[in-house]
Symmetry: D3
Subunit: 309 residues, 6 copies
């Protein structure tokens, strides 16, 4: 099988059954290198739902995707065999069951020694994904985490697991190493000053928007911790300013631009990127489809990160 | 306290903190007759979420509500003391916990001998509401049920409780009497012919859109079972055609018009209407706000039903 | 000058500077029979503004207009010389000044013995229009009035003139004859039962939506008063159900369909139609442009009424 | 291969790569009975483009489709093996080339003795589709044609082939028999009275909206010509009123309701339905997705027509 | 009474009657420090109306608001007792009457020695607000004015008072001191070069977007006049670029980013901030709600300015 | 004739038949200096159509336009006599015929020694425009080209002429001089590395977004080639980031801001600007109208470039 996108100069980009980047839709056992997996679950959101429709929307707009990265000088689809491996089974009305299904499904893919980019879903899906990666790697992971929020927050309404607590659980469960965590795009306001206690206690590196603007892209890149060992990248679309990502559950003004995100992703030095996700794209709140278009661009940059190791 | 809407000729209808029908927002213990209660939960939907925002949206558009019913010749707010009693606590990420909270909260209100119109939320909220009404009444209830769907469907993804199964559970739990059930606005397509087994077995009266059109409003009204004893009315906005209710989770073409709904609600003869709900209004899918406007009209007609007993 | 629409088979309908029905845009002194006049004023609305943009939007969608009326068997633009005579000057921030400007501007057109269809604007503009027509005719006018609302309402916030009081003022000022008034499409709810006092006292014929549905179109047409003398037609787009006219200031569920409106307009027998208006089209609330499309259709039917006398 | 839709009770309806009715996406050579084929071309429209995105949008919303037809008492997917056979190649910037590609592609499918429902695309695609069917059948076809427009119009801007002329060409090319044509949903206004000359000359049966309303559904069905021989059904979504189909290129007020369309499609007696299309769905103008939802319902009814022969 | 926002971790943010920042809705006499007041009036706009709906929309989105300011290290709701004091009475159809009502209502609040943040409304409301503040202070005020426009413009259509002239009137009436005026975010194009005469004559400090970009945030902050005495802050949302504030009456490309606004508001040194307003948010033109979200953020920063004196 | 915009202080900006900048709509023979010409053709797009509606939309929003350029200190309408010269005839269903009509129509205007700013239309219209300019000038033109794309791409689907190939054809046909080409705003991803071969071979100056950000506006301006001889400016709105221009056919993240575009246009030194176009504005994808507003601003800056030579 030829894992290449259908060319838009052969079949128009609005044609055809929609798959990620117009790639073949295959079973998990096929001979691809990187599988793109939809994880359509938004049962962990606290405000606006809708991320369950993100895999479908990202598939649609990835029709506009192209493979040649100007500054890297590579065509990512020449470097990697990439495939659409469909959507993970989930249960929209049960976070617990969905956690179980997500961990199990991803584990099956990882058992085949594949790399996976997961398209969420809200940010609550990252915890079961990390559980599967951790089990596969047999060691704690590093985490490069783009977000407006720290996601180290306490239980809400008496419930531990929601879209704002995955980092806390990942560290408390020993999936991720606090010193191996870099959080980028973070900004306030917060519910309270104690929201910072967890990151301080566990030694996460927090890179705020102020840091990005004050140091510049190059300065920020230089300031990032050097990560050794397997690393996971979790990209919450709300790290971007709401104008670049209006379609999200809990938008926060004053965020990153899509250009800054491009430059940051291009400048990251990750030696062993075992997997990644893009979460919190909520199509019902995205009337101009800008959020979906941005998510496609982020997926492309992550693929290039994987191709450039 | 004067339980009257703020007049739009005194303070413009776009002014003021938004409450249902511009009524006072009060604690459950105040001396109103009918409380309007928001139940913002959409964790039971199978397709499009968003009904969690319905109480807020219905409050906004009920600013346009007025009290005098032309054909009944009454001002409902002269007949009944109506109040906004706020929103029921719910947990967006747990159907089980929300069921518990909803039943408990409504039970507290019912203990005060109030009548309540609940503004959902998706249709999964009706089951805990019915549990509270049943407990209060100490007997099985009749159910007048407007919907496109039978809501007698089996478990989905291994889960019993979702927005398409409340009628089945209500009958199986003994909350509602099958012979006391009237379902109006029902239509296909169905997943399979066996979807009709439950209604046939339990003897529910199913009034399809074809029935309404073939018999006419008067004919249909005459054909309805005469209900004795306490009756609950559950109004799923998707009984209406999608053009009258685009903002809903699972729209079905070929539905009722808002005029037909008005005539049906005006023609119902319910002697003991103990409570009601309006569910499945999903504001993110309602760009013209028509669904919310329709929901306000339905709430007004239900209030008039309560005032006219 | 040739007062014909630019043909869509010659120049595509999306081409060209937008005028009503792609007709020539001329000064008021040209040799047309019927002038279509924009009256972009919405300073009289009580809830949602935006009707100031209606002339522009109706111009845009009247590009889709065509001239041949199937059941009448005429091409209206062969019968009448119709022109776009631009917009009436108004002042968005002063109802008083706008009333003065509207009456003056229309009077100048009427002095040239033209007929005019005015495209509002909110319904408050009809009063100064009627003042000009009354002055020109030198006698009381009949009024055929399509609306959801009676527009006989009292002062609001201490102000007499607003978009819900033009009928009352027109009768009180002696512009219009109560017995010569027919109101079609009216429906509740009302603010109170006393809202009906004025129409009862002055003997207006009120045709509710119930009347239309109970009698049928033919029955309703037969029941209408025969009007002698000069007649004015004022068409508030909210006589239509909100699904046919979502873009309006104060939508009311349970209204007419566009087909019913077509049949009513086709069946009206008006011997001396001196002028007409279409009001309360509010483009900001019309995401599918259905309201504008409907308004164009109504304008076409009114032109045919004028051509068929 | 099992040609059944993925059940929404197994995998949520928002999950998975989107195919028509969640059916398998297969090559044209597979063992299905009826193939659903996207024809994404809108280069023939005179006003609003966008129908090129209809196959993608209809795929998305057909996730909500179900198979059991209440009044027929059948599950269509038990009767027929249906499949998504992808999109026909087209060239967005050349009508001529697209005509060639469409005729060729469909001919290849028909050579396999399949039936096909084509999802357009604008109405200009029907001509090359008919050319392929005619060639396959070796005789003139009957045509059941739902539309607001006659589509017998003359050349526009000097060009013969566009989305309003397919009926004229189909008759002039001998693909279709004038006496075998039934046009349903037609209404004015027209550009001129001469637009009726062609249908009069060639003896097409024109059923206007007035006819549907005056005779009722049953009366209209009884009045339809009995068609012998192979019949094609072309369904232009604009036969529906714009409120039921806002997302279309040239909307015309006063159209059919979706319920009327359902009843008409259920009542048609077509003995040899060789193929069908659904055209003029334009997603960019469909903010509530009602047009797409309606198109899915029409596709379901057409499948049932095929299953019920 | 406890003037704290309802926590989103206790009751979900989509729950409850909407008040500013989920604060208690109280009468003006309660023991709060800062009252947030809606001023729903848009009768002074020259182009797009809709700001009358801003208080309602800002209440809705301030549900997402949080209290802890990262760089200041304070929780504003621990520092100040803040309350929602409802909406000021206005008359949508009379600017004169609304001016009278606004000045009177605010004066009553100020007589209680409260600070107030007013949520407009269009910019014409600032003049009566300033009249009340000036009367209360008994001296001329300084004015920090964020805007795309100078708002020193002459009469329009013969009317002095509109949304583009409040600065001119405030200075001419002696409410504000020209040398105490700082205008930030200003940019062209202008109607003419003479639009600059007033600011030159009266010595206002005009900080254009070019100034902000050329000097940088720190440079601009350093260049601002040091203001002594009571200061008022008026924030027209159109100082932001239209992408950050599409929902406004008269958008101007090339404006500030929301990050720049945050940094400017954080860097302002105002010793005696007696009151503030946020105006020109027009929800009908804000399909992604970004403007409302931004307005909430600005309100938060202004509260922090008040808490940090 | 007085070629001045109607003042918004005399007639409100929402009033009147919409022309570019509220200028007189005149025949091509009138005594204006610069004509603004609509070219409503989108038959060359590969993905999202809709640019055919751009002239109409830009006319509407240019009502907000003003004439005084702050940093240049001129009122452009005092310097130049500008007029709306209507729309060029085109045929929506034929690129070939439209090319012929566009070249012919523009040639007629150029024969009158006018300058023209064309409002497209998709980018395929620039080739016939350049053919007319080249013929008029009798020599190769320079090209200043703002775009996200190089537009030097090969044939698509076997067709040479489409919206991504005009630069290649313009050079191959000898209309434009490769060394006289400056392309600004360009960015990836590309379909392949060979997409860069043409620009390398023909020596175009490519200024990427990275270049703009790395060198700054001043640095970039200084780096631009000095152009001698007649120069044409083609402005594809997608040079802007999608947040500033969501309404376009093929958006690409990471683009220019509207402020950067303003500064670039203000800093260009073009001695002999013979004509210009603004293309790829697609109103159906522009729910907040930001793209149209931006296009108006660009048109204003281009007029100032013409006035400042």
């Amino acid at each position: 099988m030829d894992f290449k996108p259908m060319s838009g100069r052969v079949l128009p980009r609005f044609s055809g059954v929609k798959t990620f980047f117009r790639l073949p839709h295959v079973g998990m056992n096929e001979s691809y290198d990187v599988g793109i997996l939809g994880v359509p679950f938004d049962g962990g959101v606290s405000y606006r739902p809708g991320a369950r429709f993100a895999p479908s929307k990202v598939r649609e707009f990835s029709s506009l995707g192209r493979g040649y990265h100007w500054s890297r000088g590579i065509n990512v689809f020449d470097q990697l065999k990439v495939a659409d491996i469909g959507d993970c089974p989930t249960v929209p009305i049960s976070l617990e069951k969905s956690y179980e299904l997500i961990e199990k499904h991803l584990s099956e893919v990882l058992a085949l020694d594949k790399r996976v980019i997961s398209i969420g879903g809200d940010h609550s899906i990252t915890l079961p994904l990390l559980r599967a990666y951790h089990k596969k790697q047999g060691q704690k992971l590093n985490l490069v985490h783009f977000d407006a929020h720290l996601d180290t927050y306490p239980a809400a309404w008496g419930f531990e697991y929601h879209h704002g607590s995955f980092v806390r659980h990942a560290i408390e469960e020993g999936l991720v190493n606090g010193e191996g965590c870099i959080q980028i795009g973070i900004r306030g306001p917060l519910a309270g000053g104690d929201d910072l206690e967890f990151v301080n206690k566990h030694g996460l590196q927090v890179v705020t928007v102020d840091d990005v603007r004050d140091k510049g892209i190059k300065g920020v890149l230089a300031s990032l911790r050097k990560l050794e060992g397997p690393t996971y990248l979790s990209f919450d679309i709300d790290c971007l300013d709401p104008v670049y990502a209006p379609g999200t559950g809990t938008p926060v003004p004053g965020g990153l631009t899509s250009y800054e995100v491009q430059k940051l992703l291009r400048g990251l030095e990750i030696k062993n990127l075992v997997g990644a996700d893009i979460v919190e794209v909520s199509p019902p709140y995205d009337p101009s489809d800008i959020t979906a278009i941005t998510a496609v661009d982020v997926a492309f940059e992550i693929l290039c990160l994987m191709a450039s190791e």
